[in-house]
């Protein structure tokens, strides 16, 4: 492995790790706020227990999210110093606002986790909501920085110089709105399905039924709403990519030749040398429609992109298929769930519905990882789209491979410990929170 590849892999590893914790950090506070609200309103102890049990899990995730985020803010410089030297002052605005959001989040978290029985109950509840709102704000802000890399704005690039820098304009770049929307909904879908899945598994084991039922209902509702919205937002994103990054669109759709009434390629293995896709199903005209809202319109293929500016095709295409496939799966489960709540209440207690949710536990997070792979690999060979190449940004220090091995070891062991801790939290639910069965499910 050469140093350049090592740097890219290390970045991907760190971000792929961080994103899981940050999604949970953004979304779990809202789940807790709902449970907490019900406890304060109804005095039903199960809701207090759900809130407390979740908050312990969240404390673990928060710490991991915070340290991996701290790591990232250094890694940008450790791995890409030449990028940061120029990009820092341009795309730094969202980071400086994010600093405030993080700070408020950390403060509110202190109040929330350690504030049980110490403050007015509604003040305590409010600090939990603040954790969620500021977490969400951080997520939306940091995506602005990534969107800028896809759609650079707020400076003039003249003879290799970055002039007339305007950080506000850079923050409000073209890609921000669609990416931030898609990311936010993704965080809710992924966390909702993951949490609902874990509680579904416990329900299948018939453990602490009341506890897990209530927890499941909250998480599944959030996850299902998000899963319905996600394909809509994904369509907005796809149209946006078609407009601003035709090369990325071509790579993720494995669209090699520019054509009118372009076909949508489903599945298949792209052969980059031959410029064709094998074993795929093609639906005529659909790509033109999805990308431009019109079945006849021309869609730019990779043949219009200079060879040295072409992104890899295989990885973005497969990742894109995976994301969309999982999105459709989650959409299906969500629709079933709504149908069940609306018309078929008996399904809610049926084992097959729970099994479906249990099976979909990792679906959302897999889709998140796949989606980021599309975005990031699809932008290659650029680190700043059309302006700076990734290869020109990498640190001159040799030996990055070793740092990559180190990071891999650290992140792997951390993941193992976190899973282990979570397992123990769940296992301890009967001991810590066993309450007598309550009145009916309202």
């Amino acid at each position: 492995m050469d140093d350049f590849l090592a740097a890219r892999s290390q970045m991907a590893l760190s971000l792929g790790f961080h994103i899981i914790y940050s999604c949970i950090g953004m979304v779990m506070p809202f789940f807790m706020a709902v449970a907490h609200y019900r406890w304060l309103r109804t005095g039903n102890a199960t809701y207090r227990n759900v809130t407390k049990a979740w908050s312990k899990g969240v404390a673990i995730f928060f710490a991991t999210g915070a340290v991996s985020g701290t790591m990232l803010s250094f890694e940008l410089g450790l791995l890409w110093p030449r990028f940061m030297e120029h990009a820092g002052p341009i795309f730094g605005m969202p980071f400086s606002l994010e600093g405030t959001a993080f700070f408020i989040e950390a403060i509110a978290l202190g109040f929330f986790l350690y504030g049980w029985d110490r403050f007015h109950p509604w003040f305590h509840w409010f600090t939990g909501v603040v954790v969620g709102v500021s977490g969400l704000a951080s997520g939306i802000l940091v995506v602005a920085a990534n969107a800028w890399m896809n759609s650079p704005a707020g400076f003039d690039y003249v003879n290799g110089q970055y002039l007339n820098i305007d950080p506000i304009q850079a923050m409000f770049n073209d890609a921000w709105a669609s990416q931030a929307l898609h990311m936010t909904v993704a965080a809710f879908a992924a966390t909702g399905f993951a949490v609902a899945g874990v509680h579904a598994i416990m329900l299948l084991k018939r453990q602490n039924v009341t506890f897990h039922q209530r927890a499941f209902a909250i998480a599944a509702a959030f996850g299902a709403v998000a899963a319905v919205l996600q394909p809509l937002s994904g369509d907005v994103s796809a149209k946006d990519v078609a407009r601003r990054q035709p090369a990325k669109l071509a790579a993720m759709e494995a669209h090699f030749r520019t054509e009118k009434a372009a076909a949508l390629v489903l599945g298949g293995l792209p052969d980059e040398k031959a410029g064709q896709v094998n074993y795929a199903v093609k639906i005529p005209g659909l790509l033109s429609f999805l990308a431009h809202g019109n079945f006849a319109q021309e869609v730019t293929g990779l043949d219009r992109i200079r060879p040295e500016d072409r992104p890899p095709v295989l990885v973005p295409h497969l990742a894109f298929q995976l994301m969309v496939g999982l999105g459709m799966l989650m959409l299906g489960i969500a629709l079933l769930y709504f149908w069940a709540r609306w018309r078929r209440r008996a399904w809610l207690h049926s084992r097959w519905l729970l099994r479906l949710f249990a099976a979909a536990t990792p679906a959302g997070f897999l889709a998140v990882e796949a989606g980021w792979t599309v975005t990031e690999v699809g932008r290659q060979p650029w680190i700043i789209n059309g302006v700076m190449r990734t290869a020109d940004a990498v640190t001159p220090m040799p030996g990055v491979v070793y740092s990559f091995y180190l990071f891999t070891a650290v992140y792997l062991s951390l993941s193992v410990v976190v899973v282990f801790l979570l397992y123990r939290q769940i296992k301890m639910v009967p001991v810590l929170y066993d309450v007598p069965p309550q009145v009916s499910l309202a």
Binding site: A63, M71, I107, T395
Partner: protein
């Protein structure tokens, strides 16, 4: 104008991280150097004292980094290139410490794993400030050399020198000192206080010895530290003030008010930073052969600086009141009933 706001906030964030984050690391260091019953007492006390605030304490580092890469991109880029290795080691410490702290307090089952979390927590509490000290020393030691001919000179020589190691040790001792003074205010009984005072005396002696070590190392390496610190009125008075307050603190330790002790300790650390920082200001990184990267000259373009300055000013309107309320609410929290754990 905004340039001064940005520079002031950078200095403030570094100072706040030294005092608050430093005391936080110190808690782990003191734990490392105590045994048995004292260690358990210390651990209990510190958990109650830092549990609610440790995340917030570490935010200062992130604020400092963000100010650096938005406001001083070249400084950030040079630092992260030539000090890559110590930064990496410091990051490993940050990861290990933050996660071990939370794991040991939130693991639902208390068993052998606690021993592991505790050990990781203590050693990483020591390593992280050590490398912070090494990095800080290397910024001003003049060993960073963009023209270096080989790997060793460019990426190892930049930080692996006696002066850096001595400053690293001094930083560790300083953190332990801050933490032990801080714990005195958390003592629940006269007997506890006597124990904490004993810890503090040990840490004070260690800090003074390490301070001497720093001067010794500077002398050997030909770094004109004495000249920086004593060569101007500001440095001289800062050191005089620090020494005077150290004597006062030593005397007041057995029965002085905890708040006064904390203020004195924080004041000393501030004065030390001032004495060293003032001699260099506005240089932030000193390169080999005397060139330097200055906070004034490396500042980002005007619009960025203005936006960053406003973001910091407006941000503090939200942060500072909330932060003070957090500290206020949880001070002496250990004497109140506890239910969540």
């Amino acid at each position: 104008m905004m340039a001064y706001v940005v520079i002031a906030y950078l200095c403030l964030a570094i100072l706040a991280y030294l005092l608050l984050g430093g005391a936080d690391f110190g808690a782990g260091i003191v734990e490392l150097f105590t045994r048995g019953k004292d260690r358990r007492l210390l651990r209990q006390t510190m958990y109650h004292a830092i549990g609610p605030i440790w995340e917030a304490n570490h935010m200062w580092l992130i604020i400092a980094v963000v100010i650096l890469f938005v406001g001083f991109p070249r400084i950030y880029s040079v630092m992260s290139t030539y000090l890559h290795i110590p930064l990496l080691l410091m990051l490993m410490g940050i990861i290990a410490r933050g996660t071990a702290f939370v794991f040991r307090n939130y693991d639902a089952v208390h068993d052998q794993m606690q021993v592991l979390y505790g050990r990781v927590f203590r050693y990483s509490s020591l390593l992280t400030p050590f490398f912070l000290g090494v990095i800080a020393a290397s910024l001003i030691a003049g060993y960073i050399d963009p023209q270096a001919p080989d790997f060793w000179a460019a990426y190892m020589g930049s930080w692996l020198h006696g002066f850096g190691l001595a400053v690293g040790a001094f930083t560790v001792a300083l953190c332990a000192y801050l933490a032990s003074v801080y714990t005195i205010g958390e003592a629940n009984s006269a007997a506890d206080r006597r124990r904490f005072v004993r810890e503090t005396r040990r840490a004070t002696v260690a800090a003074v010895l390490c301070g001497a070590l720093v001067f010794g190392a500077a002398q050997l390496e030909g770094i004109p530290l004495a000249n920086w610190v004593f060569g101007n009125a500001v440095g001289l008075s800062a050191i005089a003030a620090a020494t005077a307050s150290l004597v006062a603190l030593w005397v007041l330790l057995p029965d002085g008010s905890a708040a006064v002790l904390r203020v004195l300790a924080g004041f000393q650390a501030t004065m030390i930073l001032l004495a060293v920082g003032y001699a260099h200001f506005p240089a932030f990184v000193v390169l080999r052969h005397g060139a330097a990267l200055s906070l004034v000259r490396e500042l980002a373009p005007a619009k960025t600086t203005a936006a960053l300055g406003w973001a910091l000013l407006v941000g503090s309107l939200f942060i500072l009141p909330a932060l003070f309320y957090l500290y206020y609410s949880f001070q002496r929290a250990s004497t109140r009933p506890e239910s969540a754990h």
